[in-house]
Every structure is written in C-alpha cells, then in structure tokens.
Symmetry: C2
C-alpha cells in the first residue's frame, strides 16, 4: 500500500482535492489507469470523494468496444458511476489535418472536460506515470519546446490532477500483480503514436546508455523548469497589467517604459498582448517574434508590420501597439 | 568570401572587436581553426586588428608535436605572431581526477587566457561551429543542465568570441577546399571526448531521424534560452543588490521582503548569496537547494542548516541569512 500512502501524502501536502470532492478518473482499461483507480479507492473512502469513471472509445481498433465494456464492468463491480463516450478519431484527424495521436488526445481531453463539467468535478484524474513524463519531455525537447515543454506535464494544472507522475510504470505493474488486478493490454497508445514509440524504444534507451541517470535527471529538471515557467508567467502578467493600455481590439505600451524592459520580457509582453486580444497565441512562431523584434529595435521612429491572424504591430513616436486594425498613414 | 562577409556583418552589428584590437586566435591546426584564421585575415586588414596565433600542445598523441610545428609555420607564412604552449594533460587529469577531455579543456582555456592577458588582447577567438554548438547543447541537456546549458556556447562572452557558431563545419570544409588551405586531421578532439563522440555518431543521427530539423531547432532554441538566462541573471542581480544586507562573511535578507518573492527567485537569491561569499557556487547541487527550500518553507520560526563549503543557512525571526559562521543558540 505504499503507493496509496504516497498519493495520500501528496493530497495532504497540496490540500487538494478537498474532502467530498467529485473526481473524474480517466480509465482506458490499461494497467496504469486500472492501478490508479484502485489506489484512489481507499483514499476516496478516507476523504469522502465521489469517483466517476470515464472512458472514451476512440473507435480505432476492433478491441476498442471490449475495452469499453471492461471498464464499464470494472466500475460496476466497484460500485462507481461510469460514463462512456465515443469519438470518430479517424474522421476528425482527416478533417482537421491532425495526426491520429493529436486527434485522439484532443478528443479525449474534450470528452473528459465535458464529463467533469457535467458532474461539477473538482478535477480530472489521469494515470500518467514517470515513464510518460520522461517520454513527453524528450518529445517536447525534440520538437523545440522552450521552458514550458521542458517542464513536462504538471502534477496539478487547470483542473487536471496527475498523482502518479513520480511513479514508474514498473511500480504500477507490481501493484497490479500484487492485488491481482485484471486489466487490458493497452495497445492503442502503442500503435497510435509513432514519435512516442521511437522515443520509448530507440531514443531513450540510447540516451540512457550515455547518461544512465537520465530519467531521474529529466524529472528533477522538470521541477526546475516548472518553477521557472511559473515565475516568468507571473512576472509577465504583472508587468502586462501594469503597463498595457487596453483599447478595443488593441493593446499599447508607452515606448519609454517598454524600451526599459529586458528584450526577453518585451517579446513575452507582445505575445501576451496577442493572446489577450485573440484568446490564444497559436500560429505565432519564433520567426514572427524575430520580425516583431526587428520592428521594435529598428532605428525608424515610426513603422508597422502585419502579423498572422490579421493583427498588426505598430510603432509610433510614443507607443508600441498590437492591433486588430490596419494602421493609418503608415 | 561569403563567410568573410557574414563575419564582417557580425562585427558591424556587435561593434566588436574594435578597430586596432589585438586578438588571440586559438588554432589547433584542424580545418575549423585554419579556416577561421583565413576568414579573419582580410578583416584584420580592414579593421587593423593584430592577430596572435596561439596553440597548446596537449602532449597526448605522437602527432601533437607536428601539429604544433604546422601551426607555427602557418603563422610564420602569414606573418603573424605565434605563441605555443604545452600542458601535461594526462598528469593533470590524474591528479585532479578529471576526464582527459575536462583536463584538456581546462588547460586550453587557462593557456589562452594567459596569452590574452600577456598581449592585452580584446578577445580570444575560437573556431567552434554550429555542429559543435548542437553537440554541446545535447551534451549539456543529457547532463541535466538548466537554462544556462541549453543556451549552449555564447557568441561573445567573458572575453571569448566565437564568430563561427552559426556556420556548419561543412561550410568550413568547402572554404578550405576552395582556397586550397592545408590543415591537419583533428584527431585529438575525436579521441579525447567519449561522450561527445557518442552524441555525434549515435545520438544526433538517431534524434535527427525523429526530427530532421533538430540542429536548426537547437540553435534557434539556444538563442531563446540565452535571452532567458540573461534576463533571469540580471533580474536576480538587481534584486540581490536591492535586498541583500551585506555583512562580513554573511548575507541576510529581511524575511518579510524575501517571503514576498517567487520561490524560484528565492532559490536564485540564496545561490547568488553563496556565490557572493565564496566567489563560486561550485559544489552546490539541486539537493542542497531542496534542503534550503525546506528550511525557508518550514513552519518553524527559527532554524538553521549546515551547507557545503562550511556555510550555514540561518532562519531567525526577521531574517534569512547565508553565513560562514555557525549560528549561536540555534
């Protein structure tokens, strides 16, 4: 029961989830999520949580239906509420030009959020392990992620709780064996994600030959990067709300104040302004940041630049502005 | 001559090195450093620089002496000052418990700094390429480096200038071929550094199969991480000099002000205080930061903790202190 004890300590330290909370547990039927469910059971008794078992059928494989039935029966046996859903992942991937893995993940999170909202849940609980975390960090790093990606998945973030992020998959397998838990082979993940498989079976083993302590190092670094990201995000938010002049579809900064800031924060502020106007910074890449930098740093007193999503960066004598509206006379 | 032109642009953009500067060029005799020397020559004419060719003999291989002679003759032919040195790298590695590669690098930088100081040089110029940079970043990442390591080598830092950091080794090989430059096979690097070789020949090719744009991505990210590191370093320094109460062998912070800071900055401030007292933060690892965190966060009003290098962290009712002196009555 040491796994139960370690999760209990986590709950006590975070003071989360609160007593009496409703928790939506994402259960695929694989060993990780089945173990998670059984680790949560005694804690649910202790903290008076109500567990809702949620399962999304991606309809990608023949066994998918039997996986769903397995999870539904498991919930029944344990006396827990079951909520099933289906997604046409293959069709969504095609129509949205996503990989199957991306489409699957999007559909899964959308489903879980919907269930959580319907039950007014305090959190969605997911069974991601230390192995998943290490793979995710390597994958993010290979994709060119900055601090946010290197921080990996968070233990507690935007309504999602991942209590097993520090636990190795091996430990969950031992737990399942010890308590004779039945589970389904989790083949979907394995087949769905080509990059993750390359990382799991090729990259990580090779990199671990170079540094045998790699996994632990990645998990430790993730904590540092998470703290750094957190700090930078808070700092940027503070500076933004102190300096930004908010107009309809536009955000301006006084040039004098803006120019005193570190270039790094200037970039982050412009991105924050874009997110503030559009609700997202999707579609903005390093190349756009470089373009904005050039406008900001150029010796020209007045200039402008069109950005993605029909936004404009406008430099006038006294202001730097991100705007939905085409600048006049520039 | 496009390589010459690209370096010239760099000089113009950075306004460095200044006209008439003395530059110590590190020349191993391999293709990179020989190309570097020939790229610098026309610029030296244009900017009235005086180039000093420096070569350190590591005495690790039979050919080492001939490498030194080759570089000396090259300098002579070009009418440049030559400064040679020797190091007993094998002996130093043994006595200081370093790998050959670490001992070699330490000896090399020490030699170059000595030459630079003797000639009152504006900078040491090194031939590190984009390939070296990518390898260094992967190596740092595998070692668990944080932002500083992911920023890789800097183009201009503490008296060292690396004008070829954005240039691929291939381009230098083409340059050498085009201008029929003679150079020596650079075998020392290849044999000396086991980890770097694993990264060059195994890890990078595998990772590039997963993300074919990996190298460029690493170089772009390095710029972001460099800006971030720069920002954090400046920020920590500013906060330190604003808040630190400096005593003999001790640095204190008022607890009220300290506790208002983000945990990330608190950690960095404590490390900065350690560096301020000792002149270095060597020997302080993540585990020591965690220990300090526990003292700072503990509900106890008064407590203390011994740290490496005979330092103490002391928490009193109103102050957090890093001190050389054992706390009394705690």
């Amino acid at each position: 029961m040491e796994l139960v004890e370690s999760v209990r300590k986590q709950v006590a330290a975070n003071r989360f989830p609160p007593k009496g909370a409703i928790l939506v547990v994402a259960v695929s039927g694989g060993v990780d999520s089945v173990a998670l469910l059984h680790i949560l059971l005694p804690l649910a008794g202790h903290y008076s949580w109500r567990l809702v078992v949620a399962h999304l059928n991606h309809k990608l494989r023949q066994e998918a239906k039997r996986d769903a039935q397995f999870v539904e029966q498991l919930a029944q046996q344990l006396g827990l509420k079951f909520v099933g859903g289906t997604a046409e992942v293959r069709r969504e991937a095609k129509s949205c030009k996503l990989t199957l893995e991306e489409a699957g993940r999007t559909a899964r999170y959308r489903f879980l959020r919907r269930v959580a909202s319907r039950y007014r849940a305090a959190a969605i609980v997911m069974a991601h392990t230390a192995d998943d975390q290490a793979e995710t960090i390597v994958m993010n790093w290979l994709r060119g992620a900055a601090v946010r990606g290197l921080a990996g998945m968070r233990g507690l973030e935007r309504g999602i709780w991942r209590p097993l992020l520090g636990v190795e998959k091996r430990a969950l397998q031992r737990f399942a064996k010890e308590y004779k838990l039945a589970y389904r082979e989790d083949r979907s993940n394995r087949e769905l994600n080509y990059t993750r498989n390359q990382i799991r079976h090729q990259a990580l083993p090779l990199l671990e030959r170079i540094n045998p302590g790699l996994r632990n190092m990645l998990l430790r670094s993730a904590t540092t990067f998470a703290a750094l990201e957190d700090f930078v995000a808070q700092m940027v938010k503070d500076v933004f709300h102190k300096l930004a002049i908010k107009g309809r579809g536009r955000i301006s900064f006084h040039r004098a104040a803006f120019s005193k800031l570190h270039a790094f924060i200037q970039d982050e502020l412009l991105l924050y302004a874009i997110e503030y106007i559009l609700g997202s910074r999707q579609g903005f890449k390093k190349v756009h940041i470089s373009e904005m930098r050039r406008v900001v740093d150029s010796p020209k007193k007045v200039s402008s630049k069109q950005l993605p999503a029909k936004l404009f960066l406008i430099k006038t004598c006294d202001k730097i502005t991100i705007s939905r509206y085409r600048p006049k006379n520039l």
